[in-house]
Structures are given as C-alpha cells and as structure tokens.
Amino acid sequence: MVALPPVLLIALPLLFAFLAPLVGMVSRRMVKLYTLLVLILNALLSILLFINVMANGVVYEQLSGFYPPVGILLSVGYLGAILAVLINVLSPVVYLSYFGEAENSVKFSMLYMLVTASSTGIVITGDLFNMFVFFEITAVGSYGLVASLRTKEAFEGSFKYIVLGSIGSAFILMGIATIYGYLKTLNFYDIALRIDTMPETARLMSFIFLIVGIGVEAEIFPLNGWVPDAYQGASNRVASFLSVGPSKAGIYAIARLIFTLIPIMSGFELSLLLGIFTLVVGELAALRQRDVKRMLAYSSIGQMGLILIALSLHSETALVAAVFLMVGHALAKSILFIGSRDYSGGLLRNPLIAGPLFLGVLSIVGMPPFPGFWGKWYLMVDLASRGAWTIILLIVFTAIVEGVYYSRYLFRGLNGEIRTLTKSEIASIIILASILILIGLFPQYLYDPAVMAARSLLGGGP
C-alpha cells in the first residue's frame, strides 16, 4: 500500500476550503455536498494514515525541505493517529446534520473545513510553534462558527471565546518564548532531549504558561469560562463539532506537553490538581443548569477534567482510560448536542431520536459496555491499584452528580408533546450512535491502539 504523506490531511481541506466560494458561485446548494465529499475524503485519508501508523510505527514528514530541528516536522504517533481518525471521521458525520437546514452558508462550510484541517494539524505536528499556529487557526475558525447563528447569545459566546482564546494564545506564546530563550529550538524532540538543561523554575514557568494557554481549547480550568456561553450561543452542530474537534486536539496537546515536552513531577501534580478542580466544578455547575445546552457544556468541562486526571496519573492503564474517555466523550457529546433543543421536552418520545440520545447518556455516565464505561473502569482500576481513595471517592461522587442531572434530562425528555429533529440530524445521530455501539461491542479494536499509544507516550514518544 502506498504510504500517503500526512500533510495531505491538513493541506487538502485547507485548499478545498478556499475553493468553496468558487463552487458557491456556480451553485450555493452544491457547497454542502462539496464540503461533505471533502470531509469524507479526509476521513478516508486519516484511516489510511492510522493503518500505516499502527503497522509501521510513528510516521515522520519534514516540510519545506529543511531538516529538523530547523524545518517543520510532522510526526504522527499512535495517539495522534487515533485522534486524527476520531476528528476526521466524526467531522463529516456531524456536518451531515447541516443538510436539513434551509440556509446554504458558504462561509460556514469554509470555516468548518478549516477547523477540521487545523484540529488535525494539532494532533500530527512535531513542532511547538507550528502547533501554536494550528491552535490559532482552530480558535479563529471556532470563533466564527460560534457566531454563525448571529443571535445576541451567539455574539456574546463568541466574544467571550475570543477574549479568553487570545489570552490563552498569549500564554502559549510566553511558554514558547521561555523555552526558546533557553534552548533555542522549537522542535518537540529537540526540546525533550535538552529540557533537563533548563533551570527548574524556568521549566515550571513554561509548563504553567503552556498548560494554561492550551487549557482554553481543552476546556481546562482556569481559562474555560467561555465554554458554557459559547456552547449555549452556538448552533447545535457547532457545539457538537467543538466537542469533537478542537477540545480533543487541545487535550492531545496537553498530553504531549506533560509526557514529551516537559515531563516533570511537579507538572504531573499540577495537572492532576487542575483536572480534579475542573471535574468537580464542572459537574457541580452542570447540576444547577436549567438550559440543556449549558448543562451539556458544563458536563463537557467535567469530562475534560476527568480525561486530564487520567493523563496526569502517568501509567499505562490510566492512559488507556484517557483514550477511551476521549473517544467516548467525542461520540456521546456530539450526539447529545445535535439532539439538544432549548429544552429537551418531548424529544425522547420519538424512538428514532430517543435511541441515540439514550445511548449517549449511558456512555457519558459510564454504563457498560460503552466507551465511557471502559474509560472510567480502567481509571478506577489504576487508582485502586495505587490506593488513591480520595480521588476515587471524588470521581464516584461526580458520577452520582452526573447520574442525577442526566436522569433529570431524560425525565424531562419523556414528558411534553412529541417533537422531532430534521431527517439529516436524525441520520447523523444514528450514525454516531452506531459507532458508539460498535466500539462498545468490540472494545479491543480501540484497546490495542490505546495500549500502543500509552506505551509510546510513557517512553517519551509522540
């Protein structure tokens, strides 16, 4: 089989995104189909890349003819390949839900392709500054997507996102500047090799700058105040897409930061604390919400906290848990967001909608056999083996809180008059739910790549 260069995953959707207005000049209705085809092409490319990485190990590609550490290096590791597939396969499925809408916005489709490309860029890059640029493209695209509804709430959510996103990018830049000031390099491997030569305080400082900055996209405390407002103001499919693409790319960047870039003990402790805080605050805030999308957004924050806890434990089992939690969260949340209305009343009396939504809720709260369950299970196994009972208690407590507000969500959904979604939205959530079921029935197909990803990360690889 021909090994395709990974850069295609970024370059093709970028190119096609900017060709979209030309297609729009011919026929605005064509743009949706065009975008869907581009996204499906990218999904196929990402699957080929995944197969290649799983068979032959990490794939490297140097860009623009300069050798590393000067030139930009792409490096697709196991975790990167898993997330590239996750993002690129779910992105067309979520986009499918746009077909039922009367509007044909060329700009929306362009931004959608851009964010898909740049989120993929984050998970396959091997260069710190390149990662920053992709972060910015992701962020700018997401600001636009959030504002695309043009309501007061949409503008407000987008503005908050812009403000916190810019502060986050300033923090990332400061982290990069600190590292560059000492090591004069931006390549991940070069930094990892020589990170020990940096003074302890400088290392910790750059770690804090980077984790706070990246934490904006990854929805990690302290700069995640935009999440509820942006998710509430955004349209359903945008909220759904945000929980598939940008947030997963963000958490990947944090994984690279704490494992490859600056693997220091205080770093793991700090990210564990941030994770616990994010989890508890997110879940407790979700309990208080009346608005469905706000509730789901706070629940997202809680889940991202849980993933960060799993990453910070620095063990194979916990990392496998993190992979399952990421996949489970992306699938379940994208279903729930597409199927969310201002209130959920009546939606669950339509069996075609109730099925996927119910499965999504089951996976989020951690019922077997869904990925959410496997994630929590492996996490618990790891925590129990090291006797961290306080954290176990906290996770059980937040799981109960989750159970409470999700059962309230289901209960409300079963009452009221029957309402429905558009056909394409239903198709989209049914596909997502079938992927969820497939992973639940055959977890070993995710387990094996997850173990490889965990071993590679623990060994300092990508």
Binding site: F129, A147, I162, V163, S166, S169, Y180, G225, A285
Partner: protein, 116 residues
C-alpha cells in the same frame, strides 16, 4: 543567559501584559476589552523579540560578511503572532459590531467576560 541590558525590556513587557489583563478582567465595554487584548499581544511580542536580541547584533540579513546578528527565529515568530493578533482583533471587532446591532449597546451583560 539573558543579558543584564535587557532587564527594562522585560519590565515593559510585563507592564503591558498586566495592564492588558487588568483591562480584560475589569471592563465590560467590548471596545475597551479589545484594546486591552491588543496590549496583551504587544506585551508578549516585545518579550519574544527580546529573547532573540544580542547586544550589538545587526539585522539577520545574509550579505557575505558574517557579523554578529540577532536571532531571526523570534522575529519570524513575532511576525506570525502579529498577523494572527490582527486577524483575531478584526474578528473581535466584527463580533462586537454584530452584538451592537442586536442589542444597541457595547456593554456586556453581567460581570463581563470572566464570569463563569
């Protein structure tokens, strides 16, 4: 590591950053927040350029006679960062305009952007 000479630069950068962050956290007017974001950006950019500075270095343009030149990478980074900063600011202004058309005001609800 870092030449003594540069200390004032770091002070300026830190000052710009803190003024910007204070503005973002305390103001509710969208335009004032956007201006504060500009200050934050500038503060960071000053810091990065300072990272690559060598006392007495010339511009990093190759002309045959290799003299002492400053590190070109931070300058390239800052150029990128400036472009990104400008586009984000343009987008922020566009969003503020949209918000104004919907509500007739530039003041954000509640306690501004830092509210959870």
């Amino acid at each position: 590591m870092i030449p003594e000479l540069l200390q004032p630069v770091f002070v300026i950068s830190a000052a710009l950053l803190s003024i910007g962050l204070y503005g973002v956290m305390s103001k509710r007017n969208m335009l004032k927040i956007i201006i504060s974001l500009g200050l934050v950006d500038t503060g960071v950019n000053v810091l990065i350029v300072a990272m690559g500075y060598l006392p007495g270095g010339t511009a990093p343009i190759e002309n045959g006679n290799y003299a002492l030149y400053v590190d070109p990478v931070p300058q390239a980074l800052v150029l990128t960062a400036i472009v990104i900063g400008v586009s984000v600011m343009a987008l922020a202004l566009a969003v503020a305009m949209g918000y104004y058309r919907k509500t007739g005001t530039l003041e954000l609800d509640k306690e501004g952007v830092m509210k959870w």
